[in-house]
């Protein structure tokens, strides 16, 4: 069940990421054309691109994890016995789970801080807090994947 929802959320997150990168290309190109030919760059282009970037990338973390896209060194573990491999997977997925739970929790804290302080970007006054909350939401399926990996590896190690 957790596995299914993690996968589903990662697919939705990936579509948000795709929308984000298309917006980045569009804003950058409109800004270049506007600035070079009409002397009117997009107001706050840098701020828009920066904030869209954080959303696009963070929403793609789960899909990248699902597809095994994060770089790792694979040559040592593959040669070990099945039970040892499961124990190693238990350890690494637990560390990953701790890391992502911390990031999710602290992301909400960061969002609360931005909201309380009323922090916005300098030119077009985009508030930061929705992006900090989005950061936490986007990492939820990654933590779920780590949890599933941990449970599976534990079962395999002690079966």
């Amino acid at each position: 069940m957790i596995d299914l929802w993690a996968k589903r959320l990662s697919v939705w997150g990936e579509w948000i990421g795709v929308a984000g990168i298309i917006i980045m290309v569009a804003v950058t190109c409109i800004d270049v054309v506007g600035a070079k030919f009409f002397l009117t760059p997009v107001p706050g282009a840098i701020e828009i691109v920066s904030l869209v970037q954080v959303a696009a990338i963070v929403f793609a973390v789960a899909a990248t994890q699902r597809e095994g896209g994060h770089i790792s060194v694979e040559m040592f573990v593959g040669t070990l016995p099945r039970r040892v491999r499961a124990l190693i997977k238990m350890l690494t997925s637990l560390l990953g789970l701790i890391l992502f739970i911390l990031l999710i929790y602290e992301g909400i804290g960061l969002g609360n801080e931005y909201l309380d302080a009323g922090e916005v970007t300098a030119t077009v006054k985009i508030p930061f807090y929705p992006f900090a909350y989005a950061f936490s939401i986007a990492l939820l399926p990654v933590a779920m994947m780590m949890l599933v990996d941990f449970i599976r590896a534990t079962k395999e190690a002690f079966s």
């Binding site: 990936e14 980045m24 920066s50 990248t64 994060h70 040592f76 804290g109 992006f131």
Partner: protein
Amino acid sequence: MDPVIVGIVGILILLLLFALNMPVSFAMAFVGFAGFGYLVNWDAAVSLLIRDIFSQLSNYPLNVIVLFVLMGSFAFASGMSGRLYESAYKMSGKMPGGLAVATILACSGFAAICGSTAATVATIGRVALPEMQRFGYSQRLATGCIASAGVIGILIPPSTIFIVYGILTEQSIGSLFAAGIIPGVTLTLFFVMTVFILAMRNKDIAPRGKATTFVVKLKAMWRVADIFLLFALSIGGLFLGWYSPNQAAGVGAAGALLLGLIHRELSWQKFFRASKEGLRTACMIMMLIAGASVFGKFMAVTTIPANLSMWVSGLPLPPIGIMALICIMFFVGGCFLDAMALIMLTIPIIYPVILQLNYDPVWFGVVIVLISQIAVVTPPVGVNVYVTKGIALDVPIAKIFGGTFPFLVAMFILLIVVIVFPDMIMWLPNLLAV
């Protein structure tokens, strides 16, 4: 405990987690966080973790990576690799080892629109390998040539590793791009010469292809003129100061998309697939940067980079001897770690040493990128070799590694030339003043 000892323990734990198959970016973030928490305090470490990652991911200069990666994905989806190979084949097919030469030229051309070595190998390899097999090329030469030619991709701009190095060391990305051009072109020539020598020594390993007329050659060049126009518009515009690296990348991505639409190669399905693949690659790189940034903060509080810099400068060795040691370290590291991960892990530690030795950071960037790329075709990791193996399923991996050997010799010759004649690297960046 002494911060230096804590730092060394941290590095050892990090290497252990790498060996245990934990994703490199997550391992760097975790060890960086834990080490910082141990040395400073846990509240500061938690705050560092979230703020550093959030600020790296929303860092505008890093957007150049996302957009150049996307440009490469759109270029691939737009069928540019096929056109490039076909044109190169018509230009050089009749020469000794003509198809292998065409592969090298196509890799060099595709590199001008794609910043990744593995992507260049996968893209050109899929087109080139069946052709070389059809003409009876030896498996060793065909696969070795494909695996090695991808390396050119990282020297000719846009190059994702140069961008990351530029951001880590605060060097001009335009300068690094310009610095990569002459070694990239020289390496292309060295590889072509290698193929000539191999084909002349044993004509059976590389039979000649079909002859083509001058008109056919001219038409073949015309078919890829738009790809070079895209390069000129994106990278040329950057060199001429028309726009910033981010804008150059945005124009490049939109241009690659436009070319795909003009040539009717890009369906909605291909467009979304390319966008997703580009996004995932960009995400992998950005997470590596974020993880390396957290780890870098931990390294800074251990004082290892500063101490190492002082220790190295006190060694009874001439600067070139220290440089040789650094090169060996990068080569050995590159045999086990991905080039991008290696650079992110080591640059924050090694860079102060380079400054202390008064070496030019741009020149050093080219040297280490070249070394780390030599490592991508050497065992045991040899990413390019494994990508080639993915295309040539019937060829044993040892044969592909064997096939890269003559090209490795060419790469080492280039490395020596680059180290002995630094002016060769710096001439173009100085001329363009980027």
